[in-house]
Amino acid sequence: MTGLAEQAVPRLLRGVRTKFDGVRGIWVLLAPERTLKLDAVGAAILAETDGTRSFGEIVDRLAARYQAPRERIAADAGTFLASLIQRRMAEAE
């Protein structure tokens, strides 16, 4: 899987959550037996991933917020979320 359909609604699975790690000063994604350090892009994508917004909406919001080309955001966010889905940390309906 390399991306997500525009109308797909991604969400983190139960037992997977973001947290601001005050000791290291970074955002992390906590999942069963895994901790991912999030960069600014990853943290921004997950901040918009609330389980109700479609992938298309998420991309629109990120593109507006960061004033970046929509295709680039869609590619980055699609790859990132697809990798979480493949690793059983997220799902999309």
Partner: protein, 373 residues
Amino acid sequence: MNTQAQTTAARPVAVQPPMAMLAELTHRCPLACPYCSNPLELAAKASELSAADWARIFGQAAEIGVLQLHLSGGEPASRRDLEEIVASAHAVDLYTNLITSGVGLTERRLDALVTAGLEHIQLSLQGVDAATADRIGGYRGGFARKMQVAGWIGTRGIPLTLNAVMHRQNLDRLPETIEMAVEMGARRLEVATVQFHGWATLNRAALMPTRAQAREASRIVAEARERLSGVLVIDYVTADHHADYPKPCMGGWGSTGLNVTPDGRVMPCHAAHTIPGLDFPRAPETHLGEIWRDSAAFNAFRGFDWMQEPCRSCERKTRDFGGCRCQAMAFAGDARATDPVCIKSPLHARLQESAEADAAAEGVALVYREGPA
């Protein structure tokens, strides 16, 4: 030969905050697995830390940067105050994982644990059928109970990892083990080839996989990973006695994780007590941060200065940190030696020969783990 791991020179190695902590809440367990990683000298019930002690330790852990907490044992469900312990970890926002055989859990306890903030369960598997599982676990009815608990976990949607310790007596059933994980709805499966620490050291001849089994297991895992991509994540711990390079034990000594024993001793890994000369301070009296940063035990093998040849000048040292210190101690009689699993170790050939001999042994009875006082 220097067999002691004395740390006289204070070394300015940059210390990163720990990511994970394994809390051995008790060494009590209804099962008696012959490969149990608990020490041969088990902590007595009377010496166990109280829930209040654990709460203090969790607070200190969160303060110094621990993110993931693995509640282990023995069997953590053997503690009647497990729910309280989970709640105190949740209160300081640690990610809580329960490592259990399932025995001792009821539907009501599971609900209480989830309410207390439990986020994930790692269920151990001793075999794929009752006869095998109960024989390996040394506990009749254990398998039936585990299947029931797996069902309760599934109905509640609690994230589940299945942990299967594989050895010569069950490696041939790896495909069924993988199927079982899928059927249970587990998101993850750990195919953990037995590591020869703790009680497993008494069972080398009974449990050592053959080289052919180890190779076949790698093939099966690779095939299953591809077939089950997006369904089941498989973590695979290989049979290192048949390998050419060692594992990066603990991701490097004192670099990412710490272990706390039932009586509060804080160690860099669960087998660190097998290295003579290391002194493990006790939590919570001594603050976890002080132990992590300053204790001689945690600094003993930090960084690379402690290394000898061939590790010292090897380009792989930043990847595997010279392998396992406890295995070096056990086999070379020197905790600073190269892990004998490594092809560059002068002891590599001897380690492999002894593994072959153990793997060829026949009719060896299992030595079961005993219970603590």
